[in-house]
């Protein structure tokens, strides 16, 4: 089974961050996590994913500062996806788990 690691980091006291992982072949939500308030740094482990499967990672919410996001783990692209999100935010990332 495969695992995706989502690291989040925020300097703001006002945060609402939803992280949802969807299997793209059938639009099934396989994981949902809500982080709120002054969460600082957090690591979200999404486990028991299928190998060689395409997933969509939707991230949405709001922050009055900045949320740094990094996606890594058993994904085909060995480089982690890194992004900074501000204000009202909604962003979708695409990954495919490796063999």
């Amino acid at each position: 089974m495969k695992k995706i690691i989502i690291d989040v980091n925020s300097d703001a006291v006002n945060n609402t961050l939803n992280v949802e992982v969807i299997r793209r072949s059938d639009d099934v939500v396989v994981f949902h996590k809500l982080l709120e308030g002054d969460f600082g740094t957090a690591q979200i482990d999404v486990e028991n994913l299928d190998a060689q499967t395409k997933y969509k990672i939707a991230v949405w919410g709001a922050t009055t500062g900045k949320i740094e996001l990094s996606i890594s783990g058993d994904i085909q692209d060995p480089n982690p996806i890194e992004r900074e999100l501000e204000e009202a935010l909604d962003k979708t990332f695409f990954v495919e788990t490796n063999h």
Binding site: T16, N18, K54, W60, A62, T64, A88, D90, K91, T92
Partner: protein, 400 residues
Amino acid sequence: MKKILLIGGFVLLFTGHLFAQDITALPAKIDQTKTANTKDILTSFVQSGIDNLLGEKRNFKLSLSFLAIDSLVNGNKAERKLNRKSFFRNSSLNLNLLGDSANHIDKWSAGLTLELINKKDIKTNVVSSKNWGEVVAATNDYHSIRKYAVAYLKLEVKNKLAIDKSLDGAQRAHLLDHAELAAESSFDLAFENKDFKLLSSELQHILSDPAFIVYLKNANNSSTLDNAISSMKAGIHLPNVVFQRVAQEFSRKPLWIMKPTVSYDREHKQGEYLLESNFTTGFGSLERTPWEFEASAKFLIGADSTITSANYKNRPLTFSVGINKVLLENENKESRAEFKFFSQYSYKVGDYVGRKDEFSLNSTIRFNVYKAIWLPITIKYDPKNGNVFGFFSITANIGN
């Protein structure tokens, strides 16, 4: 001494350049709602500058926020921790060197800007649950529309591909994959540009499809969903609109700072002590450009220049009360022109020979020329000594 002044000048410029890069890395978007009047009172991270480089009196300035000093000493890890503390962000150490044309230091000054109350900083103050709830509802509604619009589009594409017998399974999967990526990219583009007119024609068509609305509402029964759909169809970025309204509320909250400063004139062996206090708070409808009330007090102990030896007989106590009005904003609610009207009363404490008190009415209008550069024009009226039109002086300075 000449070398020290030159080295000092380069150090100020260099540190200014270094921190200027850090400023861009700070979360700045929300600060756009602050008026130029508020930014006058606070040092954002670091300010440095040299005035009158080629003139007879050269002025080197450096203001370092406590956060900048801390990050210089402890690195970025400490900065992150301290980033939450408004006091460190908005309190600063201010240094000033005044030199002559031969780069001798004639006068130096050192002071502090201390934040006593700052409710304006949305990054360090907790947003009320009601306001934050509206922001979260708007982002949730937006995300829900996006999620189900993409899913609906995939269903439509899948049905179309199913009846095309010329395609095999892999080709259908590829085209479906492509359609989904394009739809998500279209939403990203519109969201980041804050304009849902940029959505693809397929997605705009889906937003107007009654069957999609039924499909969406079966999955999400939010009471604010209808407003979110109609806003998106009109091209409006509702999460940003709600977020900016909350930011506007914070821009109207109070700020109070205290500034003690000590100066020394090496040439005349003359010290000078200054204590300043500034208070500002906003008011007025959120639908209109903001008003700000400002009150300040200043007490200076310095030299009476009519006496040749060092003395401390000039002790003006000054009070100022006024209002500042944002006249023009751009589409991102950034201030572009401001008008300030204030009255000022000054009284010379102690045995000062000469006019003891002075009352003036002042107004300043300033225009944002480029980024942080403002062009202020000040008109001062002294009703006691003035003629019919009073005494007017017009100055134009370029600076932050």
